[in-house]
């Protein structure tokens, strides 16, 4: 169930990315898409009743039923790269606003 919900977030993001013309809305769609994909990967590794993959005084043994740690570490990488791409995208948005005075791609295209 959670897989389908997170996939619908991904779907929502791609839909926004294709249909919107405002650059900030496109960046928000990009982030929604990324969050959906991260949730999807994380939920694939989870099953009912499993615990977080960290040994502690409460859960001291490796023989316990832990969550799959590999998707989580891959998502950690993906989140950091998402931060980087968002920063570059916002810098581009500022540059476009400086050059053209607005952020709507259709209006900019009409002026050229």
């Amino acid at each position: 169930m959670m897989e389908l919900l997170s996939l619908s977030l991904l779907f929502l993001g791609i839909y926004g990315l294709v249909t919107k013309h405002h650059i900030l809305k496109m960046i928000v769609s990009l982030n929604v898409m990324e969050t959906g994909l991260n949730l999807f990967i994380t939920t694939l590794g989870y099953q009912e009743g499993q615990i977080a993959p960290i040994l502690s005084s409460q859960f001291p043994s490796s023989a316990l039923n832990f969550v799959d740690p590999l998707p989580q570490s891959l998502v950690l990488t993906s989140i950091v790269i998402g931060v980087g791409t968002t920063a570059v995208a916002l810098a581009y948005a500022i540059k476009i606003f400086k050059d053209h005075g607005c952020l709507d791609l259709e209006k900019i295209e009409g002026r050229l």
């Binding site: 294709v18 694939l44 499993q50 040994l55 502690s56 043994s61 799959d68 931060v83």
Partner: protein
């Protein structure tokens, strides 16, 4: 018309991803507990079976970190993390390139009042210490270098909103960032020289769950935390400058 086309495309994509990820027709494997490969990371049995790993007791494991996700990120797949740090560096470089470079000082539009200035100084230390705690304990508790670095950047954001960070301090952050990145690569080369593999864990792994355990992992998380913190602070600084000039 375009929207309907996109909707149809998305539906195909969703079905395809779901089929591949959940049923996996190529290998006939499921996401079930018995089928997964990463059990070896949880048992620390990639190079050989050490038996049951017990918190606070097991010693001389191939990886002595209590946090398995951190063990994968900075020990088993440390080379991957080096690439990740490089991606963040390149994005900070891109932001610097797009925003027009160095030299201009930050002038805030608002004049910070008494409460903001002294409140920022008060909160700054607490947030900074919490960030340092986060990346120093990354191998035993949730957290690690990347969230710790982000928290440190948040403390720098508080200071710069109060108008306390000057251009000189930003230069110090740049030097810190470069030094941390270079030391990360040097740690990898030390592993190559002493144990024959890049990023090999050459220090003793200690007891699982202790602060000084897991070999070079706390060291690497310290370097990642400093690097990510100073990098994100640099990105924030570029954006603040940008806002003033336009």
């Amino acid at each position: 018309m375009k929207k309907i086309f996109v909707l149809g495309l998305m539906l195909l994509l969703v079905i395809g991803i779901y089929q591949l990820a959940v049923y996996d027709p190529l290998h006939e494997r499921t996401m079930a507990f018995e089928d997964r490969d990463s059990q070896a990371y949880l048992d620390r049995s990639v190079n050989g079976d050490p038996g049951e790993v017990v918190f606070g007791k097991s010693t001389n494991l191939e990886d002595g970190a209590a946090n398995t996700v951190a063990a994968i990120v900075v020990d088993y797949r440390s080379f991957d993390t080096l690439g990740e740090v490089t991606v963040l560096f390149i994005s900070s470089l891109g932001v610097a390139f797009l925003s027009g470079g160095f030299g201009k000082t930050i002038r805030l539009k608002h004049k910070p009042g008494f409460v903001l200035r002294y409140g920022a100084r008060f909160v700054f230390g607490i947030i900074l210490v919490f960030g340092a705690y986060m990346f120093l304990h990354g191998h035993i508790t949730p957290g690690g270098g990347f969230p710790g670095g982000a928290i440190i950047a948040a403390s720098a954001l508080v200071l710069s909103l109060a108008g306390e960070i000057s251009g000189e301090k930003m230069k110090a952050f740049k030097i810190l960032e470069g030094a941390a990145g270079t030391l990360y690569v040097l740690t990898g080369i030390v592993g190559l020289y002493m144990a024959g593999f890049f990023m090999q864990n050459v220090l003793p792994s200690g007891i699982v769950g202790h602060l000084f355990s897991a070999g070079i992992m706390p060291l690497i998380y310290l370097l990642i935390g400093l690097k990510v913190g100073s990098e994100l602070t640099g990105i924030l600084d570029y954006f603040l400058r940008e806002e003033v000039e336009s």
